[in-house]
Amino acid sequence: MGKKSDIELIVGGLRKDKRLPEQTREIKMKVGNIVSANGSAEVSFGNTIALSSVHGPRELFPRHLQESQTGILRVRYNMAPFSVDDRKSPGPDRRSVEISKVIRLALEPAIFLDDYPKVTVDGFVEVIQADGSTRVTGINALSLALASAGIPMKDLVTACSVGKINGTLIVDLNGEEDNNSESDVAVAIMPTSNLVTLLQMDGVLTKEELMHLLDLAKKTCKDIHEMQRNVLLEKYKGEE
């Protein structure tokens, strides 16, 4: 991370998995697969699979966490022990606590929590297979789950990762690219208003490169948003 890699990740303009620099992996989305939840979704970007569910709005305990004027959103991001090559020790760690917070902050601006004073909306993101860009996959999944749970939202939230490898700007990093990139940037936007709700950067980029990557990310997010729309409409199609 942060320096040029010795591995040839881009040969003849193509990435190792035969993608163009600005091409995403195959994206699959499914809504409503967890019956006991108020809303749920599964999103996969290539080999990265995130499962998300939303429970609530429901009563918040312990009571001292309640806010009298507004509801709160709680997010738990968790990686399954079998999601990575080496076994990941189960349970929360520093990384997943941070990512939970980052996902929450990315989604909070889009939700009308004021409509539900004193209660909580609980969102869960379970990464069952990890191959890079897990947090943006989680954001896409959770945003779908929130919409299908009937939570009032300003807009769907759409996210994608962009980065730089050996001088080439690329979209949707997989695990290997993530580990060997000069820089990677996670971006989440609200596509209708074009507002950015998450922007995280690792490594080194010039200002021009960052601005170019942001444009790329916004363009990719618009495409992902279209997919999110279609999967939600498909699910509720004909439900008068």
Binding site: N38, G39, G56, P57, R58, E59, S68, Q69, A110, F112, D115, Y116, P117, K118, V119, A147, S148, A149, G150, I151, P152, M153, K154, D155, L156, M190, P191, T192, S193, R229, L232, L233, Y236, K237, G238, E239, E240
Partner: protein, 219 residues
């Protein structure tokens, strides 16, 4: 935009043009957007969106079915299928004079009892008060509660009550629907009635539902 379409959160419904903002929408720069995944309802006076899913949110005047969850000094807390409980004060529930020194309130309602009541007050912070001071409100005895999606209740009732009357007439059951998504049923044929109601909930979007229910319930 036709009113049969489904909209998603953030979809633009049109310019406001002095129309009233109904539920499920928000305004930004004179334009109206949807808050929910739902069906838009647009007419010359009002723009609103009816969500397709979601938990019940209490509103003033709603007729709901509740279950007593706690007995207090001078009233009851009623669970109404949402994150907020409603308070039912003694004065709003009982007509006669009650001497609180001598009377146990469980004489009127005990934990687990089912009541049909009206929401007489809902504050901004979702403090909810219920009232039984009208002729329809009463204690519901010996029946069963069925839980359905709150947004499907109008479909179960039907146009001017046609669907619910059909089920009532064919099964000879007593049925009470609460706007919070709970339906109370009592009668010998209640299994048939429950089946009919769950079918309506499941297939509320399909055409020819009335005929199907008619056929299902038989003569």
């Amino acid at each position: 935009m036709s009113s049969r379409e489904i909209v998603l959160p953030g979809d633009m419904l049109g310019p406001r043009e002095g129309k009233k903002l109904g539920s499920g929408v928000y305004e930004e720069n004179e334009k109206v957007y949807s808050k929910f995944l739902g069906m838009p309802r647009i007419n010359e006076n009002e723009i609103s969106v009816v969500p397709l899913s979601g938990t019940y949110l209490p509103r003033f005047g709603d007729r709901v079915i509740g279950v007593i969850e706690a007995v207090e000094v001078s009233g009851w807390f009623v669970s109404i299928n949402c994150p907020y409980s409603a308070f039912l004060p003694l004065s709003e529930a009982v007509d006669e004079f009650v001497d609180l020194q001598r009377t146990e309130l469980t004489r009127y309602f005990d934990i687990g009892d089912i009541v049909f009541c009206r929401l007489s007050k809902v504050t901004k912070n979702k403090l909810v008060q219920a009232s039984m001071r009208d002729f329809e409100s009463r204690k519901l005895r010996n029946g069963v509660l069925v839980k359905v999606t709150p947004t499907k209740i109008p479909r179960i009732i039907g146009k001017e009550g046609s669907m619910i009357m059909l089920i009532k007439n064919r099964t000879k059951c007593e049925i009470v629907t609460g706007q919070n998504g709970w339906v109370w049923i009592r009668g010998d044929n209640k299994d048939k009635a429950i089946e009919a109601i769950l079918t309506i909930e499941r297939e509320s979007h399909l055409a020819g539902l009335t005929e199907k229910i008619e056929k299902m319930l038989g003569e």
